[in-house]
C-alpha cells in the first residue's frame, strides 16, 4: 500500500449527513465485474431526473472537478459494505475524507486502501466547513498526517485526532495482509487449541442423512 504522509489539493464540501454507499457508488444499471469507478462517483446524486448532470450540484462545478479532500457531515458511508464506495473516491483523486463521523465499515475500508479518514468534533467541523465553502476550490488545503494538521486559507491550522495505530498504518503504508501473516504461527496455535476446545467449530461437516430432497 502507498504510504500516506500529506495531501495538498482542492477540498470539496458535500455537507450532508448520512450519505450512504448507495449514493457514493450506486449499483450501476449495467452491472460489471470491472466498473468504471470514476464514472460511478455519486453517479445518481449528480444527475437530475432527466439523467443529465445537474450543473448546480457541488460535485459538478468545474472548480471541484479534481478534488483531493472530501468534506462531509455525520455518519458518512453508512449502508452496504461495498468497498467500491472507497475505490470511486480514489478514482477521482480523493485521498482524505473529513467528516463529522464515518460509519465503521466505511472507515475500515478507507484504511485498507490508504485513504485517510478524519473525524472532527462539531465545533471544529463548523469552522473548517466555513473556510472550505469560502475558498470554493480556488485555493488548496493541506492535510498533513505527520503533524496532524489541516491548513489552508481563511484561518490558522486545525489539529485533528487519529489513533496512533491507524496513523502508523497509513504513514508506513503497512500492508494489511502482511501485517497479519507475521502472526501465522499464532493462528496455527489457536487452531490447534480450538480443535480440542470446540471441535465443531474447526470442522464444518454435514451430518449424514441430511441430504436435501432433490
Amino acid at each position: 500500500m502507498q504510504p500516506f504522509t500529506s495531501v495538498t489539493g482542492v477540498a470539496v464540501p458535500l455537507l450532508q449527513d448520512d450519505i450512504n454507499t448507495d449514493q457514493i457508488a450506486p449499483v450501476p444499471t449495467q452491472r460489471s465485474l470491472k466498473p468504471d469507478y470514476k464514472d460511478l462517483f455519486f453517479h445518481r446524486a449528480r444527475r437530475g431526473a432527466d439523467d443529465a448532470l445537474d450543473p448546480s450540484h457541488v460535485l459538478n462545478q468545474p472548480q471541484f472537478a479534481a478534488p483531493s479532500i472530501f468534506v462531509t457531515g455525520r455518519n458518512f458511508g453508512c449502508g452496504s459494505s461495498r468497498e467500491g464506495a472507497v475505490w470511486t473516491m480514489m478514482a477521482v483523486g480523493v485521498s482524505c475524507i473529513i467528516a463529522r463521523s464515518i460509519a465503521d465499515l466505511y472507515r475500515e475500508n478507507c484504511l485498507q486502501n490508504g485513504v485517510l479518514p478524519i473525524e472532527l468534533p462539531d465545533h471544529v467541523a463548523d469552522t473548517l466547513e466555513k473556510r472550505i465553502v469560502t475558498a470554493n476550490g480556488a485555493e488548496p488545503f493541506t492535510v498533513n498526517l505527520e503533524t496532524q494538521l489541516i491548513s489552508g486559507p481563511g484561518g490558522p491550522d486545525i489539529a485533528f485526532e487519529i489513533s496512533h495505530a491507524d496513523r502508523t498504518r497509513l504513514l508506513e503504508g503497512l500492508d494489511d495482509i502482511g501485517m497479519s501473516l507475521k502472526h501465522a504461527s499464532e493462528i496455527a496455535v489457536w487452531e490447534e487449541r480450538a480443535r480440542s476446545a470446540s471441535p465443531w467449530l474447526q470442522r464444518a461437516l454435514r451430518s449424514p442423512d441430511t441430504e436435501p430432497a432433490k
Binding site: D17, A165, S198
Partner: protein
C-alpha cells in the same frame, strides 16, 4: 470470583489470536460465507498474489445477489448477473470452496441459508462480505460484515483484524400485540435512537420481548443492527436456539452435540456484567411501524402522520429533502397512501415464518388492482417448504408473483426494480434513495403491514384487516 463478563467479552476472548502492530486484534473467523458480488474481486487478487485459501473447509459460497427470480431461471436470465455467477463458480472451484450454486436445492440468501443449514452456531464468529452479516446474531453468533479487502484477508489468514467493539445492551420490555413483530422492534429502536447510535458497538438485544421471539424473528431483529450503525448485533442463545439448531445439516450431532450444548449454555452475559452503554425500550404498546423517509430513523407508527417540518434548520432541510423524494406532505397521514408495489422478501423477512404470516393474512383475498406484488423466498429450502404447505398457491391465487429465491428487489441487483416515483411497501432493510430503482419510493415495514397493504392497495394497518 472472576469478574462478570458480557457475552461479547466471552466471544471476543475465545477468538482472540494476536494483537497486531497497528493495535488491531486478530479474531479467528469460524465460518466465512461469500457471495458472488464481492468474492470474484478477492479471488482475482488472490490469484495475482499467488496466495491460497487457508481454510476452504470453513468457507462457503452463495449465489444470491444477482440471481433472477423468474421461474425456470438460468444464469443468463439476468444478463448482468452471469459474469458474477460464472466468476464465483470458477473461483470457488479453484480454491475448493463448497458452492451453493444457482440450482442447488439449498441455494439462497447467505444470511437465510447459514442459519437454516446450521452453518452458523452459537458462540461462533461468522463473516460475510455483506453488511447484513449481523443477521446470524439471532442464533447467538457474532456476525461481522466486511469489505472486499477484509474478505481477501480472511481467505488468506482465516482471521479478521479489528478493534474490539464496545458493548451495548438494548433491553426490550413488554409483550408484543398481535400483528406486531421483530421488524417493528428494530424499526422502533431506529426511530428512537437514530441511524448511527450503534457505531463502534456490538449490540446485545435482551429482555422479555426478545426472549419471547422465535429464533427466526430474532434473525430479523439482528438483521437491522447494521442500520443502527453496528457491525454486529446478537441475542444470547437459549433453549429455543438449541431446539432450532438440533438436527440441522451442519450442526454438531451425537456426542459432539452434547459437548456443544454445554458450552453454549455458558455464553450468555453474566449477571452483573458491565456494558459500555445500556438502553431500554418499553414495547408493550408498540404499533406496527413503517418508514416514511429515506433513512431508517425516519420511522413512524402506521397510524401516525408524517412529521411536520419542525426542528432546527438542519432538521427541516433533511425532512424536506426526504419528503420531496417520497412525494409526501408534512403532517399527512401515512395510512391510505396509494401503493404501486409490495415486496415480501430479503434477508430481513423471507424465512418460512414470514411467508406463513403473510399467507395467513392474504388467504382467499386478492391483491388490489394496480398493485404489483411479489413474494420471493429467502432460500430454495424455504421455497420447498412453503410449496409443500401450499403457500405458493395462496400467494399465486391472491395475485402475487411467486419466484425463485435470491435478494431480488432488496437491492435490485438481479434486475428486479421498481419504476421512478413508484411507491413500494417492502419488507427489506434499506429505504435509501434509488435503492430499489431510480426514483423509487420505498416504505419499509414488517410482513404484516406489507401483506395488508397489498390487499388494500394503500398503506394499511394489519390490525384492522380481518
Amino acid at each position: 470470583m472472576n469478574k462478570p463478563q458480557t457475552m461479547l467479552d466471552k466471544l471476543w476472548d475465545a477468538h482472540f489470536v494476536a494483537q497486531r502492530l497497528d493495535g488491531r486484534n486478530m479474531i479467528y473467523i469460524d465460518r466465512h460465507v461469500l457471495h458472488e458480488l464481492h468474492a470474484p474481486h478477492a479471488f482475482e487478487q488472490l490469484e495475482k498474489a499467488k496466495r491460497g485459501v487457508r481454510r476452504a473447509d470453513l468457507t462457503f459460497s452463495m449465489q444470491d445477489h444477482t440471481v433472477a427470480t423468474k421461474p425456470g431461471r438460468t444464469q443468463s436470465t439476468n444478463p448482468d448477473g452471469e459474469q458474477f455467477q460464472v466468476a464465483m463458480r470458477e473461483g470457488s472451484n479453484r480454491y475448493g470452496i463448497r458452492l451453493f450454486d444457482l440450482h442447488d436445492p439449498e441455494q439462497g440468501i447467505s444470511h437465510v441459508v447459514a442459519p437454516e443449514l446450521g452453518l452458523v452456531l452459537p458462540g461462533a464468529t461468522h463473516a460475510v462480505p455483506d453488511s447484513h452479516a449481523c443477521t446470524v446474531g439471532g442464533l447467538g453468533a457474532l456476525g461481522i460484515g466486511c469489505g472486499t479487502s477484509e474478505l481477501e484477508h480472511i481467505l488468506i489468514t482465516q482471521t479478521l483484524a479489528m478493534k474490539r467493539p464496545k458493548s451495548m445492551r438494548i433491553t426490550l420490555d413488554g409483550t408484543l400485540h398481535p400483528y406486531v413483530s421483530a421488524k417493528d422492534l428494530s424499526l422502533r429502536i431506529l426511530s428512537l435512537f437514530g441511524a448511527s447510535f450503534g457505531r463502534g458497538y456490538a449490540i446485545e438485544f435482551a429482555g422479555e420481548a426478545v426472549r419471547a421471539l422465535s429464533v427466526e424473528a430474532r434473525l430479523t431483529l439482528c438483521n437491522l443492527a447494521i442500520e443502527m450503525g453496528s457491525r454486529s448485533g446478537f441475542v444470547a442463545p437459549d433453549e429455543k436456539t438449541f431446539a432450532y439448531l438440533k438436527g440441522r445439516p451442519y450442526a454438531p450431532h451425537g456426542a459432539e452435540w452434547e459437548a456443544a450444548l454445554a458450552q453454549w449454555r455458558t455464553l450468555p452475559s453474566d449477571e452483573g456484567a458491565n456494558f459500555d452503554k445500556e438502553l431500554r425500550v418499553d414495547c408493550s404498546e408498540l404499533a406496527p411501524q413503517i418508514t416514511w423517509g429515506t433513512d431508517l430513523s425516519q420511522t413512524i407508527s402506521v397510524t401516525d402522520a408524517v412529521p411536520a417540518l419542525d426542528g432546527d434548520a438542519e432538521a427541516v432541510t433533511k425532512k424536506q429533502r426526504a419528503l420531496a423524494y417520497m412525494g409526501l406532505d408534512p403532517g399527512q397521514p401515512i395510512l391510505g397512501l396509494k401503493v404501486d408495489r409490495v415486496f415480501i422478501g430479503s434477508c430481513t423477512n423471507a424465512r418460512i415464518s414470514d411467508l406463513r404470516t403473510a399467507a395467513a393474512m392474504i388467504k382467499g383475498k386478492r391483491v388490489a388492482s394496480g398493485v404489483t406484488a411479489m413474494a420471493v423466498p429467502g432460500s430454495t429450502s424455504v421455497k420447498r417448504i412453503a410449496e409443500s404447505e401450499g403457500l405458493d398457491q395462496i400467494f399465486k391465487e391472491a395475485g402475487f408473483f411467486w419466484g425463485e429465491s435470491g435478494c431480488s428487489m432488496c437491492a435490485g441487483g438481479n434486475g428486479d426494480r421498481g419504476k421512478p416515483q413508484e411507491r413500494i411497501v417492502s419488507t427489506t432493510n434499506r429505504n435509501f434513495e434509488g435503492r430499489q430503482g431510480k426514483g423509487v419510493r420505498t416504505h419499509l415495514s414488517g410482513v404484516e403491514v406489507a401483506a395488508a397493504s397489498a390487499i388494500a392497495g394503500v398503506i394499511a394497518d394489519p390490525r384492522t384487516i380481518g
